[in-house]
Amino acid sequence: MANITNTPESAGSNLMARALREAFYAGLVALGLFVLFVGLKTDQNILNELILVQRWGLLAIFVVIAAVGRFLSVAYIRPFLARQKVTNAVTGLLPDSVATRFFRVPIVVVAAVIAILLIFAGNAIAAALPAVLVPWVTMIRALAIIYVLAFGFFYFRVYIAAHFNTLAIIALIFYPPVMVYFFGYQGSLKYVDNFGIQILIYVMLAWGLNIVVGLAGLLDLGYVAFYAVGAYSYALLSSYFGLSFWVLLPMAGIFAALWGIILGFPVLRLKGDYLAIVTLAFGEIIRLVLINWTAVTKGTFGISGIAKASVFGIWSFDVSATNNFAKVFGLPMSSAYYKIFLFYLILALCLLTAFVTIRLRRMPIGRAWEALREDEIACRSLGINTVTTKLTAFATGAMFGGFAGSFFAVRQGFVSPESFVFLESAIILAIVVLGGMGSLVGIAVAATVMIGGTELLREMTILKQIFGPDFTPELYRMLIFGLAMIIVMVWKPRGFVGTREPTAFLRERKSVSGSFTKEGHG
């Protein structure tokens, strides 16, 4: 009863008291969670015996972070989010969204000035400052550039959303020349190879898996098996028979599709989680066979020295070849041409995947997949042959996995079973689900964020400044990847793109919110 006459002040102090109490509990729980694993570290001494190293300071930091985070969340962030949903009594409008508050014109002017100043005079400024501050200058420059770019995206968001596909393809086509222009041939390697090719491989794999999981609704946890089949068919056939990439690329796709049918056939009757565990088992079986069949696959040593691809046999990238790309055009020798060629190759493969997926969705088979995903019984009652429908989904998805696999082998020049562990399947599936299942754009965005984000961590020299020179950001890559998966999923359970244009519609095309459908898309 007393609660009814709450004045704002007492509500405020109640909130503070509650925040403090919850912060205390959070700290206590954090202490319990981390006391053994962070407070103590097992280490080997000279006699190779395990000893314990005590790290109570680090434990205290963990506990304080948990408590302060909980306090801020209860006392400020949650009330703020609640206020965002309440309309103003006078104007009758919702408060400005966080994004419009964040992207203000005065701020962007300041950021642009800083960015331009640091781009042109950054080296001079860095030279004048002590070495400790140099990474900070780099970081401020990067942040300013990112802010200006993000403002651009935000300002033109309607236009970008309307023309996303065209803009993205144009941007990707001009990506390598722009990188070469800014960083030179050697400097562009990092951006074209580590970011560009790496992300595009995952985009392709995720689009391939999307056919199985997103369209046909068959949960496949062993997709990496087909990736492995593609990679090993290229590696083995090119090193044993000397066949070229352009012959083996379709063959790798066919082999993988065959394996898709072979592995798909026994699991036709299985559903949901049973299907998941059997596909996971198949993925593991293929990896274990690759490890143990040493006579052919060389086991864990892997196959190295895999031949490079050529530009349709016209120009080669082998240094000794007479038709070497650089020699033919009289360019200075560099490995960058090959990487740029590979970038365009994987881009073309990705676009092929997207094109095929989009076309297939409009064909009877694609509609049958989507019908199968939503309701198998209804599907069967309507006379759809579920056996062939499922098998074609497995085979088509596997085929793209095979293409991506042979591309992977040609890019690395080396394959070993290490590259085809379950973690890869999990990452690919995570990208598909985080992207909103079935939405090609969403999946591409998810791949860029998750793979690009973790690759970015390697570049963070600034972290070394903060945590000391022994700090290796790479170690934390997968930890952050896992946490990001959880956070994105809890924050947006339907993925980045939760709505989708329906393929079949009556009179008018209406976007359906993901929450109305069974598997998360319209």
Binding site: L33, F37, I277, L479, G482, P493, R494
Partner: protein, 300 residues
């Protein structure tokens, strides 16, 4: 014959460990229909907790009796991993409970990646060997049975009995079974569904922690990646026995253990996991809901 019985004993030991982990999978699946992929890493976390407790105990009181040390290790590991799973369920799985089927699965896979890398970062990537804790071996009719194996089988049997009693004969177990059958109806009848689910996660984690301690004691070594393979095998065991069924999980665990040790004994050890997974596939092809699982009746 003696060789065969020897392998049977080894398989039974291994199967007990798998069975303990599999119960966690099967219970969580039964109650909220989600594959808790992080459960294998919870098991690994339990093993690490036991390892650290063991080192603390040896450091504080050098000559502590092994039985007492083992008891303390099990208890602390159970409490620690229970706390972990409680927090994980609350923060990562509960917000997604009403969501579509794949969302909690992806979160659980993310949690599995995060947990194993958390241990790698905080405890280092190397193998953690400990000196053999229990080394007595008994000869019975030409079969050597180590005390370790006896401890594992006995502890498993005792825990399963306690567990079976809790699920079948206590108000808590009744609440769990009710929640499993119909969550909304259970809530309407006054069962605190959230609490019941939390307790289920804690119980599953506690059993996984015991399995972790037993694993550490049996093999004498643990490493941060150890959650994956036993986790997948335990999940295989749960599916083999019929996911959602408690006796099925134990049966599946024992079967996987026996298949593994018999295959390694009579064929090549390299392909023992291939054999396990192949048998899983074969069983599921002929009996898609597992050995003891009830076939799901689809209603239109």
């Amino acid at each position: 014959m003696e060789y065969f019985v020897q392998q049977l004993v080894n398989g039974l030991t291994l199967g007990s460990i798998y069975g303990l982990i599999a119960i966690g999978y099967t219970m969580v699946y039964g109650i909220i229909g989600m594959v808790n992929f992080a459960h294998g890493d919870i098991f690994m976390l339990g093993g690490f907790a036991a390892l650290i407790v063991y080192l603390v105990l040896v450091g504080l009181f050098g000559g502590i009796p092994i039985a007492l040390a083992l008891f303390i290790m099990i208890i602390v590991a159970m409490v620690m991993t229970g706390l972990w799973n409680w927090v994980i369920e609350k923060m990562a799985y509960r917000p997604l409970r009403g969501s579509f089927r794949l969302a909690p699965l992806i979160t659980a896979i993310g949690m599995s990646i995060a947990l194993s890398n958390f241990i790698q970062v905080t405890q280092g990537p190397r193998n953690k060997p400990i000196p053999s804790m229990v080394s007595s071996v008994y000869e019975v009719l030409g079969i050597s049975i180590s005390l370790k194996q006896i401890i594992i089988v006995v502890v498993t049997a005792v825990l399963l009995t306690i567990f079976w009693y809790i699920v079948n004969h206590t108000p808590l177990g009744r609440a769990q079974r009710a929640t499993e059958q119909d969550r909304k109806m259970a809530a309407l009848l006054g069962i605190d569904v959230d609490k019941t689910i939390s307790i289920t996660f804690i119980m599953g984690a506690a059993l996984a922690a015991v399995a972790g301690t037993m694993y550490l004691m049996y093999y004498g070594v643990i490493v941060f990646t150890d959650g994956f393979t036993p986790g997948v095998k335990a999940f295989t065991a749960a599916v083999l026995g019929g996911i959602g069924s408690l006796p099925g999980a134990v049966l599946g665990g024992l079967m996987i253990g026996l298949i593994e040790s018999l295959w390694s004994a009579y064929f090549t050890i390299d392909y023992k996991d291939v054999a396990t997974f192949s048998i899983l596939a074969i069983v599921l092809i002929f009996k898609p809901s597992g050995i003891l699982g009830r076939p799901e009746v689809e209603k239109v």
